[in-house]
């Protein structure tokens, strides 16, 4: 257990991470919202965003990240992202189109921007779900202690600041 703590004490690493993490998060958002004009989209953006936060956790400790994004929040966001995607489809149905027919969303916008609006919102759902899932996978890994027997309970939930209580 000595090596990781030494890594965390390295000043260069801490300074660079502190400077880079916001840029990575911003780039994630750029890939997310520029995805309809250039290369990008929800999946890539979600991965980049989560990677930025995981770098933060690697340098400053998973505990620090748990205080920002509790484990339970990642679970909720996974579900919320999928629901956001599905809700657009159902909304299109309620407005008289087929499931996920974004053109039916036109009355909500001015002109023929239904397709544009639809793809932005569903990609946001994808981005949220992917980022949350990757962080949840990370929590699942760091929550396990070496030699721990497999049990039904999830160790990631029992430890850390943002467990069931939040």
């Amino acid at each position: 257990m000595k090596a990781p703590s030494r890594v965390r004490e390295m000043p260069i690493l801490r300074v660079v991470a502190r400077a880079l993490v916001p840029v990575i998060l911003l780039f994630g958002l750029y890939v997310q919202f520029h995805g309809d004009f250039g290369p990008g989209g929800g999946f890539q953006a979600g991965v980049i965003f989560a990677a930025g936060l995981i770098i933060f956790a690697l340098v400053f400790g998973a505990e620090a990240l748990r205080q920002v994004v509790p484990v339970v929040l990642t679970e909720r966001l996974m579900a919320a992202g999928v629901l956001l995607y599905g809700a657009v489809g159902v909304l299109a149905m309620l407005l008289g189109g087929e499931f996920l027919n974004y053109s039916a969303l036109d009355p909500l916008t001015t002109g023929h921007y239904g397709q544009h609006l639809g793809i932005i919102v569903i990609e946001l759902g994808v981005g949220i779900a992917v980022a949350a899932t990757i962080m949840r996978v990370y929590y699942a890994f760091v929550g396990r202690r070496p030699g721990e027997a497999q049990t039904g309970a999830d160790p990631a939930l029992d430890t850390g600041a943002g467990g069931e209580a939040s």
């Binding site: 679970e75 629901l83 159902v90 087929e98 499931f99 039904g152």
Partner: protein, 494 residues
């Protein structure tokens, strides 16, 4: 009206799963998922009524017309499967398993319901869609969620058998994916009807034949066709009992539909059964499944493993119906999907009742249990009689049409073998009945404290046992629909 909302059949359970994750209240999730499954059943029945008599409903996802867009296409064939899967899901969801699977603590139980809903959504998606790649996506959704469900069983080996299931299932999924890729290369389209229409000139290409081989082997793994069935006995016997009932009643049935649909709709019966003569492989394998798996069932000492091996044998009857490639035999195979789902689903629910009260379904532990749990044991006997194929039960109906279909092809020997294999079923069912009713309980395992299973468990098990008798006497609905579906498949159209 129904053609406007048919997509909800898949979307409802798919979106209900994240709702369960968000709400996190176990009791809410249980009732909510039951409501969702009931709504799916209602939609499926409405669809079946709508398409009976040769109707077809097409739904364009996102408003993109096929072949470019994903098309949901309902005919009698898949409407029958949708009704079957949702009906079984409804009965099994109403089974009150008193606290869910043992390895899932109370605060994580909402995830169990979410995974269960995803599994249903995947199975319904495979059945409803008319797009080859969409099938693969739903195949993965249903497979991944069923691996999770299996791993939740109480025994430590549940995790191991889920992992084995995962490896086998993934190999099957990859084969399926490669097959779809080759078909895409040959035809340049993923819409199933479009593939079928464009495949005609390149039907004899090596790529097409390879695609057929990959698809058949891939689906055969998921379907547990005889030599590829090894994942099934462990998966069924270590999964939580409710999950075993659900998978036994639905998952293999959907795989069978997929196999039939690919053989008859995409490649066409003349090519598969007259030129390639697939029945030369499928028929012997079916017969081997019937005999070897039934033989293995006889030597099992655990009721769940016994039923699991019997499932492999019963899948043999289904593929036997497929290999006849005539209307009677295929209808026999299709009607056996429903009939087997009813009896095996009922039997696994009985197992769940026994596990709850006795704590074990090892045959030694069940000695004399017929006196302590008379209603549960009676349901067990009805299910068992149906497995044998006694007249008045659904098993008889299936075997009648299967034997008729086989005789129509002139395969007299196969018909005799079907009847002989019923004798093996008689042996393993008889063995269970003998233990349950006539053997004295062991001194070391007193059963005086055992009471009848609670009503919430007994009622769903008895619904299926009663259905096994009811549909054994009235075949208008089951065989009528199956016959129509078989004729539709043989005509090559979905």
């Amino acid at each position: 009206m129904i053609e406007k909302i048919l997509v909800l059949e898949v979307v409802l359970p798919l979106l209900a799963a994240p709702v369960c994750v968000l709400v996190r209240h176990p009791r809410f999730c249980r009732l909510f998922s039951l409501g969702v499954v009931a709504a799916c059943f209602a939609i499926a029945v409405a669809l079946l009524v709508e398409v009976r008599g040769g109707g077809v409903i097409s739904y364009q996802l996102g408003g993109w017309p096929p072949p470019l867009g994903i098309e949901y296409r309902i005919s009698t064939v898949n409407a029958y499967l949708l009704a079957l899967v949702t009906a079984m899901a409804l009965v099994i969801f109403s089974f009150d398993s008193r606290g869910g699977p043992p390895r899932v603590p109370e605060q994580r139980r909402h995830l169990y319901y979410a995974v269960f809903l995803l599994c249903i959504s995947g199975l319904l998606g495979i059945t409803i869609t008319g797009d080859a790649f969409n099938i693969f996506v739903f195949l993965e959704i249903s497979s991944l969620s069923s691996y999770i469900l299996v791993s939740l069983g109480g025994h430590r080996r549940a995790v191991m058998s889920a992992f084995y299931y995962l490896v086998m299932g993934t190999i099957g999924g990859v084969f399926f994916m490669l097959g779809v890729g080759l078909l895409y290369q040959e035809t340049g389209t993923l819409n199933l009807r479009d593939i079928a229409a464009r495949l005609e000139p390149s039907l004899h290409d090596r790529g097409t034949v390879l695609a057929l081989a990959l698809l058949v082997v891939g689906i055969s793994i998921k379907l547990a066709v005889f030599p590829l069935h090894h994942w099934l006995p462990n998966a069924y016997s270590f999964a939580p009992p409710k999950v075993s009932a659900f998978l036994a009643a639905t998952a293999t049935k959907v795989s069978f539909y997929l196999l039939a649909m690919i053989l008859f709709t995409i490649f066409g019966a003349p090519f598969v059964f007259e030129e390639l003569r697939l029945q030369a492989v499928l028929l012997p394998l079916s017969l081997l499944a019937m005999f070897l798996a039934s033989g293995a069932a006889i030597f099992q000492t655990d009721l769940r493993r016994l039923l699991a091996y019997s499932s492999v044998a019963q899948i043999g009857y289904m593929t036997l119906g497929l290999s006849t490639a005539n209307a009677t035999g295929l209808a026999g195979g299709l009607v056996h999907l429903f009939n087997h789902a009813v009896m095996k689903g009922g039997l696994f629910l009985v197992v769940a009742c026994l596990l709850y009260r006795v704590g074990s379904v090892h045959l030694d532990a069940l000695a004399g249990i017929g006196r302590r749990m008379p209603l549960t044991s009676a349901a067990l006997v009805i299910g068992g009689l149906s497995l044998i194929g006694v007249p008045g039960t659904v098993g008889f109906v299936s075997k009648w049409y299967l034997v008729s279909g086989v005789l129509e092809r002139g395969w007299t020997a196969a018909a005799v073998l079907i009847l002989l294999s019923s004798l093996l079923a008689l042996v393993y069912v008889g063995k269970v009945v003998e233990v349950v009713y006539f053997r004295k309980p062991a001194e070391t395992q007193p059963i005086d404290h055992v009471r009848e299973a609670p009503l919430g468990m007994l009622a769903p098990a008895w619904v299926l046992a009663a259905a096994a008798v009811f549909f054994g006497l009235t075949t208008n609905w089951t065989y009528g629909v199956a016959r129509e579906a078989a004729e539709l498949l043989l005509a090559g159209g979905i």
